[in-house]
């Protein structure tokens, strides 16, 4: 999850509105690609019941193991289920898990990190120890341990992702809070009588949201990978709910009969990851040079 944050974080994002940001991102080819992918994914997620041609669990045994055709645009798997529909529903699962999970991780990490950075002292030390300990585990091991403790289910996958990702956000939030705290407006508000809570909620946190959003965008693919990975191992979403991971898993078992499930799912994962990553990186590039007030320059 470690992405290099732009330096100079004293006062992030002076006055850039969301609309302008998105426009800037769209100006760059990588950003355009990312936005397109994300848009397409969200369309799929929300409109799947209407656009998917078949019920993903419906088995058409007669038509099993077919390649792409007019009836089944991506082909069918070994049980005759339409791959296109399964991939669409898998996308629902992927994003339906990844987005809430990452958001949850950010919120939890933000809360703990802000408390740590703001309170300082023993509380800070204790929280940092917690963050570091959790982060010391390789993500895979941690995920596996947690899911085996909680039992496999979609809800638990979300919990696992939140617990795995939150410490990272906690550290980042804490560092940002510490940096913002150095600005004298914090002291100015104190001198006006503002409570610590008010200063944290109204003045500090809004100034650190921007870099967190960038990280979030780039973490969603990681979360999708975690979910797919767990589902691949059978520890994530349980059948009959299709997950990209489970489609892959079944596909590998039958790869000699038909390569299509593995191919299409792999492609779906790849494009999704690329899309979010390009979006996140472009967003960071757009925001980063603005911090310093420089403009991207063109030689005459």
């Amino acid at each position: 999850m470690a992405i290099a944050l732009p330096a100079r974080h004293r006062v992030p994002l002076r006055g850039l509105s969301v609309a302008r940001l998105l426009r800037e991102v769209a100006r760059r080819p990588a950003g355009r690609f990312g936005l397109f992918v994300i848009a397409a994914l969200f369309v799929i997620v929300f409109f799947t019941p209407w656009i998917a041609p078949y019920d993903p669990a419906a088995q058409h045994i007669i038509d099993r193991l077919q390649g792409p055709s007019w009836r089944y645009p991506l082909g069918t798997d070994d049980l005759g289920r339409d791959l296109l529909s399964r991939i669409f529903y898998g996308a629902r699962v992927a994003l339906g898990v990844a987005v809430p999970a990452v958001v949850g991780a950010v919120l939890l990490g933000l809360l703990l990190g802000t408390v740590a950075g703001y309170a300082g002292g023993k509380i800070d030390n204790a929280l940092v120890v917690v963050f570091d300990t959790l982060q010391a585990f390789p993500a895979v091991i941690l995920a596996l341990v947690l899911i085996s403790l909680l039992g496999p289910s979609l809800r638990n996958v979300i919990i696992v992702i939140i617990v795995s990702f939150a410490p990272g956000y906690g550290r980042v939030s804490r560092a940002l809070v510490l940096s913002v705290k150095q600005n004298s407006f914090v002291e100015a508000e104190r001198s006006l009588g503002a409570s610590d809570f008010r200063i944290a909620a109204v003045h500090v946190v809004p100034n650190i949201l921007a870099p967190l959003c960038i990280l979030m965008a780039m973490d969603i693919p990681s979360a999708i990978v975690v979910e797919s990975g767990l589902s691949f191992l059978g520890l994530g979403v349980q059948p009959p709910t299709p997950s990209w991971g489970s489609i892959l898993s079944e596909g590998f078992d039958r790869v000699r009969d038909t390569p299509w499930p593995v191919l299409w799912t792999g492609l779906a994962l790849m494009i999704t990851t690329l899309g979010f990553t390009m979006f996140g990186e472009t967003l960071r590039d757009v925001v980063d040079p603005r911090f310093a007030g420089l403009r991207r320059l063109r030689r005459p």
């Binding site: 403009r295 991207r296 320059l297 063109r298 030689r299 005459p300």
Partner: protein
Amino acid sequence: MSESLLEVEGVSVVYHTRQGPLPALRDVGFSVAPGEILGIVGESGCGKSTLSSALVRLLPPNGEITGGQIRLKGRDLVRLSEEQMRALRGRELAMIFQDPLTSLNPAFTVGTQLVDVQAAHRSKRSERRAIRRRAVEMLEQVGIPDPGERIDDYPHQFSGGMRQRIMIAMALMLEPALLIADEPTSALDVTLEAQILELLRQLRREHGTTILFISHDLGVIAQLCDRVVVMYAGHTVEEGDVESIYARPLHPYTQALLAAVPSRMHRGDRLATIPGRVPSLSALPPGCTFADRCPHAQDVCRRDELRYLSVEGRRVRCAMHDPMSGFDRDAQPSQLVESETAA
């Protein structure tokens, strides 16, 4: 005029941005005689940092010198290639900056950095010892105690004032003919500033170093410099020797600037302020850029580009002092209302 060390003539610099070209410097010209200390004074946005970058040809990638000549000992620097400029930097031309913390590399000892400067120009190993000896001498000259030992310390082991001295030592290693000092004392306490100014005077006295001193502080300029150039919004607006300019400023901007400096002399009154703000580079008005803030402004001021003329032993860029401009010398200056956008 006898042979000048540095002659800047008609220099213009433009920054290319997404919004189009921004004219940071327009028709800037002055000269510096050998052994002289010339001050360049102006407020923020006047272009003085652009000027110092342009002189050493270290403008950022989007900056371009679009016209004029910068003649150092007769050679036009604008025409030189980057390699030729590199040979000059440090040797003929050296620069010191405002913040010695960021100008010194924290990862190397002071000695390494001092020796490197010379070594870049001469690389025989046998000469290194001699260069190091000279570095110790330089440190002593700028007032670093125990230079033989401290030469192996790192920048963070020195205080701010000492770091500034080290930077001066570094700049002087190759005995440059011209030292450009860009706000070298702005970040220093007043007593430290006095020390550095004295050091600069000593350098001029003992080594004949010519100094171009850039600052926004009118007091420092008055104390240190022989002559001064006043800049406003990318133009040079007045130039002359320090005593006559401070005693009798000709350009209304210079007059206003001097009247706005707080001092004990003005106790009990209000300080004079300049209404309005410096115009943004992307929206420069035609004619005189100061006209909107000038109590003497007339229509002629806003019409044409003004000429930079010699008047009474100085140079001024002002319609009021240009006999051919059509300025009405009998008109009363207007009382400009101090608008609420006063900076």
